[in-house]
């Protein structure tokens, strides 16, 4: 595997290999000295053309713990604001001979375009509404750790599916591993034809949460034409917010997930987010191990 552009193109074995590799990296993250020389001399560029705190930091931590040399570009500080095309920027980065480009971009397909232009490995850190593969992998890692398996589970995915790359990557991953995915949200947030991806759709979050093993809430994306998606936050919260009452319909051992950043009181109530069934911060912790695994498999796997 040279690139990680999405989950759709991976098979179940590849997914499981990444998750198994992440186990040993999780152990490193619990050591006193959290650094190994695995990717020494490897240079990784983190190119984030869209705001990101968690993912960007997570990649950087993962890279540094593997001793890679990391370089960060944010769009505001790059040549793109001076009118250079992305393709030209990519060629210039290519000229500096990096081993890997981690790219976050608001336009779907941009990592695929860069993978064609550049010789180095490309990791998709989120493209438009399309995919966010490392998020789905860290979610799967978290689920597997808590539930012991990735098959036969009922996973409720609630919120703005239409504009969510996290949803798409999770749908691909969980259906490939044999879990049942139920989507819920107002009809405006359920993209056309999504049933064909092997999921069940409901507009009633109660139906989705009922007997679920995993309840994954998605962020309301105010920046994406929200005026056309729902009337206001108050109305949205009234019908789709995960509170104690809604969660009580899930299996007693159900876990609550959120890819962050969360809108407290809109899609998830504070007491649930901070409650004992929430694994939201575990997701973040596991994200580092999973990204270390991805970097290792793409960049160091062959000579290790």
């Amino acid at each position: 595997m040279k690139h990680l552009l999405g989950i759709e193109s991976l098979n179940r074995d590849q997914i499981m290999q990444i998750l198994e590799t992440a186990v040993s990296f999780e152990e490193i993250n619990q050591r006193q000295i959290k650094k190994v020389p695995t990717l020494k001399g490897i240079s990784v560029i983190n190119f984030f053309a869209e705001p990101s705190t968690r993912t960007r930091m997570s990649f950087e931590v993962a890279e540094k713990r593997l001793s890679a040399d990391t370089y960060n570009i944010a769009v505001a500080g790059s040549a793109i604001t001076k009118g250079e095309t992305l393709a030209d920027t990519a060629l210039n980065l290519q000229a500096m001979a990096p081993d890997c480009l981690v790219i976050r971009h608001a336009v779907s397909g941009t990592p695929h375009m860069l993978a064609q232009i550049m010789n180095c490995s490309v990791i998709n850190a989120g493209d438009g509404f399309h995919e966010h593969p490392t998020q789905a992998l860290l979610d799967a890692y978290t689920i597997k750790k808590r539930k012991g398996r990735l098959d036969g589970l009922k996973v409720a995915l609630i919120g703005d599916i239409a504009h969510s790359r996290v949803a798409r990557s999770n749908i691909h991953l969980l259906t490939k591993t044999g879990s049942q995915v139920v989507l819920a949200g107002p009809a405006t947030m359920i993209p056309r034809g999504v049933e064909k991806l092997g999921v069940t759709v409901t507009y009633d979050p109660k139906e989705a949460v009922k007997e679920a093993d995993v309840v994954m809430m998605l962020r309301i994306q105010e920046e994406r034409e929200s005026g056309l998606m729902y009337p206001d936050r108050r109305e949205y919260a009234r019908f789709f917010c995960l509170d104690e009452k809604l969660l009580s319909l899930a299996r007693p051992d159900a876990i609550v997930m959120h890819p962050g950043p969360a809108n407290r009181g809109v899609e998830i109530e504070d007491d649930i987010m901070d409650g004992d069934r929430s694994v939201i911060l575990e997701q973040v912790a596991n994200g580092v191990a999973v990204r270390m695994a991805v970097l290792y498999l793409l960049l160091g796997g062959s000579n290790a």
């Binding site: 759709e8 095309t85 992305l86 393709a87 971009h105 336009v107 779907s108 397909g109 941009t110 695929h112 375009m113 493209d127 438009g128 509404f129 399309h130 995919e131 239409a162 790359r165 798409r168 993209p191 056309r192 034809g193 999504v194 064909k196 991806l197 034409e225």
Partner: protein, 426 residues
């Protein structure tokens, strides 16, 4: 100058094709016959065994980018691409810079085509509104005087129904019609591809197919109300086909075109994120594609146009949302459409008809092989197999999703007013 074409399959555009020969004398067709024609003093005898001889094809929808964007295409390169594609006449859309909303631009285009072009006839379509802004009418009478064969705002369709109604009325006083790019700009806002399963899978903002049908319905209702003809551009959806068929049964004088890419590709192709698959209207679903083929077969759609939209690589090689819309089509349309003749989905006669119907739609001389008519002729070798190579295009545009496609059938020779202006370099 005398040219004798013999042993050909003559396909006159209307009526049955037949084996026969054709004699061109100077700029006119002197004789057409189902037997070998005897003629003295012939300058060239062309043995066209296995070839189709048809009236010169017309493309009623092309973008030549001149004036203003000559780095994408200019009138000379556009006309060369047309000849290579078997077209002897081309109607060009007005989205140049400045916009073709005044007689100055029309005269410039006609003059450049006449003086610097290869002979292919150029028929500009004038802008319907000033600057294609959809606010006030362009000087339609003057555009007509300058040579405009129709008016259209093409890719910036008029949304204000009141303006559209008055404009159609006004244009009718000069005997020309409004050509509609059917799109509801509210519904397509921000969209990058057809809305459906594949836009969900690829995570690209969708354009609901219903927008085209809505606009087609409005335009047809206007035409019916006013008792005027209307032409619908590049039909891409099943719903639009159904609506056009409905209004045709009501006696509305609506004509419609589609383009080869809507017959051959679907929204599944966008999965490559290749900006060459980005076009407006977008590639639609498989169901739509089948319906458009059916509409072409049954006469709901009258013509094939290319919507030839050349772009420079630097307008295309961008993030998908930022990439320009459109694909070149002049040099691939005939070969791509012949596929349906080979598959016996459409007859040879129908094939020639859809490439020549534009003459009658816009009142342009041509589209016939009748004796005494202008000797504009397209010769096609239907069995020649080749691979589409964008680097061989005479157009400046290389933006095609068909690069590498294996096709059967090629334009062999293009003749304008008795003069061969293109011969395929086999």
């Amino acid at each position: 100058m005398k040219l004798l074409i013999k042993n050909a399959t003559i396909c006159p555009g209307t009526g049955q094709s037949f084996p026969g020969s054709l004699l061109v004398e100077n700029d006119r067709i002197a004789k057409v016959a189902p037997v070998e024609i005897k003629a003295d003093g012939v300058d060239e005898i062309l043995d066209a065994r296995g070839m189709i001889v048809a009236p010169g094809f017309i493309d009623i929808h092309a973008h030549f980018r001149d004036p203003g964007f000559e780095y994408k295409e200019d009138i000379v390169s556009g006309l060369n691409a047309a000849a290579a594609g078997g077209f002897t006449a081309v109607c060009t859309m007005p989205n140049t810079s400045p916009v073709c909303d005044n007689i100055g631009v029309i005269e410039y285009q006609k003059k450049k085509a006449r003086e610097e072009g290869n002979g292919v006839r150029l028929f500009p379509i004038g802008a319907a509104t000033k600057g294609q802004k959809g606010e006030t009418m362009a000087p339609i009478g003057e555009l007509k005087e300058g040579g405009a064969v129709a008016v259209s705002d093409d890719g910036k369709p008029i949304q204000d129904s009141s303006l559209l109604l008055r404009l159609m009325q006004y244009a009718s006083s000069f005997g020309i019609k409004y050509v509609a790019h059917a799109e509801d700009l509210y519904l397509s806002r921000g969209g990058q591809m057809n809305e459906g399963y594949f836009s969900t899978l690829y995570g690209l903002p969708g354009i609901p197919a219903v927008g085209e049908a809505l606009s087609v319905a409005r335009e047809c209702l206007m035409a019916e109300y006013l008792g005027l003809p209307i032409h619908i551009c590049h039909v891409s959806t099943k719903a639009a086909c159904d609506i056009i068929a409905f209004f045709k049964t009501r006696g509305v004088k609506v004509t419609a075109e589609t383009a080869p890419h809507y017959l051959l590709l679907t929204d599944e192709a966008l999965g490559s994120y290749d900006p060459n698959t980005k076009v407006n209207p977008p590639l639609r679903s498989e169901e739509d594609r089948r319906a458009v083929i059916e509409a072409l077969k049954n006469g709901t759609i009258d013509a094939i146009a290319t919507d030839h939209a050349p772009h420079h690589e630097r307008d295309k090689n961008l993030e998908f949302n930022a990439a320009a819309s459109g694909m070149v089509g002049l040099e691939t349309a005939v070969a791509l459409t012949l596929k349906f003749v080979h598959e016996k989905q459409i007859s040879l006669e129908r094939f020639v008809e859809v490439f020549t119907a534009g003459y009658r739609m816009f009142g342009i001389e041509g589209g016939t092989l009748a004796e005494g008519s202008l000797a504009d002729i397209t010769l096609i070798d239907p069995s020649y197999t080749w691979t589409i190579d964008k680097n061989m295009f005479l157009s400046k545009g290389r933006n095609t999703p068909f690069h590498g496609f294996h096709v059967k059938g090629a334009v062999f020779r293009t003749i304008v007013a008795g003069k061969t202006i293109y011969t395929r370099p086999y």
